[in-house]
Structure formats: structure tokens, C-alpha cells
Symmetry: C2
Subunit: 154 residues, 2 copies
DNA sequence: TCCAAGTAGTTGACGTGTCACCAACAAAGG
DNA sequence: CCTTTGTTGGTGACACGTCAACTACTTGGA
């Protein structure tokens, strides 16, 4: 058995910078969205998914799969969004266990009002700081890491 | 007033890949660390900070500053770590408002036991997937974004 | 037909993060 | 000395995420 392959100083710095970027970028975007529209990033993602579909509705399991969320997480979150009137639940005729989540008018209004400023913030904080090569590199890096994360081994 | 500068398709893909990478890499690392040592990533970060200091102790505000955590967050978190015996609190003689957080022996043991596998996982999931240029690029990107996040304007 | 196994979705407990607010104290000027 | 202002750290309420357990339903055989 070999020793741990520790990170060298350069890797260490890169790792810490990456962690800091994530934490802060996320916090900034969350705060901006919340302050500006009352939506959380999670709300936003759910609404994007639902409004992307022709009739603004999706089976809950299917939605969880598409978003890579645990069903429990989605269930809790839909409950909170329901209370705020952003979505509604509907029963499924073909499968009595199933249910649909549906965007309400209020949900549509909320995301349409929130999207422009949110996108603008993403652009300002991320894309405006990078040149074309860096954007490409970021995409390539993310794809490579995602491939590994999807890999069933380990 | 100009219209929103939306993301083009390539930026869109890059942004989604970045979000997915973050979410999943973080989830994976968290699960691994938790399952392996009972520590959360947040616990780990606090312990890293404390064990990095000569006497394993830090003023709470100073710690919050170093970690870029809100004081309230740190206070809650230290309370939980205290209950589990990972740290202790000490009063500050020079400033009666102040307090120190101190790593306990148990806290030291916990992080020393946890670190090797955690680092190994970071390496497997991230650094092993990237070549030297990509690691450099990631560092450069993170630094650029952090510069903007630190910028007082906006 | 009937049951074992699987699936859809929910729930409760608990750890975590944020916000708003507060008590205790420090520091500086009158 | 005393008041004003800022700082230190904590608290309660609430949103969020995970895990384990559960209900209700479906499905694929024996």
C-alpha cells in the first residue's frame, strides 16, 4: 500500500482558489436573485425545468432525474414552492402513485421577471472576466470532471 | 437602457456544465468525507484553519474573516462542533467580548484520520482528470473571478 | 388469483446556512 | 466621567438538503 498522493503547492493553491470561487460566486448569485426576485437558485432551477416543457408540467420522478436531485429533496422543495404559489400539484391518471408538478401563472411571472438580471449577473461575474479560450477551457474541464463523476467505477 | 445580454448557446452549455460539476463534485466529496470520518466539509475546513495555527486556537472573528464565513454561521457551526467535542471555547483575557475557538485532541485526531482519504478523493475526481495546462487554466480562471468578486464596485 | 418485489412520492429528524436582531463590551470624544 | 458609536459573538426563526423509513400503488410471476 502506497502513501497518500498529497497535493503539491500549486495544486493546493488551485484547489483553494476553486473552492473560494464556488463558494463566493454561488453566494453572490444567490443573494442577488433572492434580493431581486424573492426566488432562491433552487426555485429558479425548478422553474426553468418546468417552463422549458410545452405544458409547464412534469412527473416528479422525471423532474428529479432531469435535475439530478434526490426525490426527497425535490418533494420538500415542491412543498415549499407550493405554499408560495409558484407551482401546483396534479394527480396522474395513468399511475395513481404518481403526480405532476405544474408551473402556475405566478411561477411564470416570477421567473420571467427574475431571469434578465440573473443572467446579467452571471455574465458580469463570470463570463466578462474570461476570454474565449478560458471559457472553452472551463467547459472542457467541467466535461472531463463530469465524465469521471458519471463513471460507474468507484 | 439596453436589453439583457443573454448567454449564447456555447456559454449556456458551459454554464450548465460548470454548475453540474460543482454540485456533483461537492456532493461526492461531502458524502465521502462524511461516510469515512463523520466530518462534514465545513467541519473539515474549520479544523484545517485551527490546526494550521501554532496553538490550535483562533479568535472567532478572525477565523470568520479568514474563512470568509459570516460570524453567525461560524457561531452556529462552532456550537455544533462543540457538542461533538471537536473544539472548545475559551474566553479572551484582553477583550471580554471576545472568545477563542480551540481544537481539541479529538478534533486533531479526526482531521488527521480524515485528511488522507479526502485528499485522495480530490485528486481522483479532479486533478487526475486534468492535464497540467488545464490545472493552470483552472487556477487562472478562479483567480480572475475572485478578483472581480473582491472588487468593491458592484 | 394472489403475492413478492419494485416504484412514486412523502414524511420526520436532524445538520446546515441566512437574516434580523440583541446583549455585552470597547474606544473615542465631549 | 459619560455618552455615542462600533465591534464581538450569540440567538431564534426559517429555508434548505440528506438519510431512513413509510404508504400506496404497480407489476411480474407462481
Amino acid at each position: 500500500m502506497t502513501g497518500t498522493r498529497w497535493l503539491d503547492e500549486h495544486e493546493q493553491r488551485t484547489w483553494r482558489a476553486y473552492l473560494a470561487m464556488n463558494a463566493r460566486l454561488n453566494a453572490r448569485l444567490h443573494r442577488q436573485l433572492q434580493a431581486d426576485s424573492g426566488l432562491s437558485l433552487a426555485d429558479f432551477d425548478v422553474l426553468v425545468q418546468l417552463t422549458d416543457r410545452p405544458d409547464g408540467r412534469a412527473r416528479i420522478s422525471e423532474l428529479a432525474g432531469a435535475m439530478q436531485w434526490e426525490k426527497s429533496r425535490l418533494s420538500h422543495h415542491l412543498g415549499r414552492m407550493l405554499r408560495r404559489g409558484l407551482i401546483a400539484r396534479e394527480e396522474c391518471p395513468e399511475d395513481a402513485r404518481g403526480a405532476f408538478a405544474v408551473v402556475t401563472e405566478q411561477g411564470r411571472d416570477a421567473i420571467e421577471q427574475a431571469a434578465p438580471r440573473h443572467v446579467e449577473t452571471v455574465r458580469e461575474l463570470l463570463f466578462d472576466q474570461l476570454d474565449t479560450d478560458q471559457v472553452d477551457a472551463l467547459g472542457t474541464i467541467a466535461d472531463a470532471v463530469l465524465d469521471r463523476l458519471d463513471d460507474p467505477r468507484a
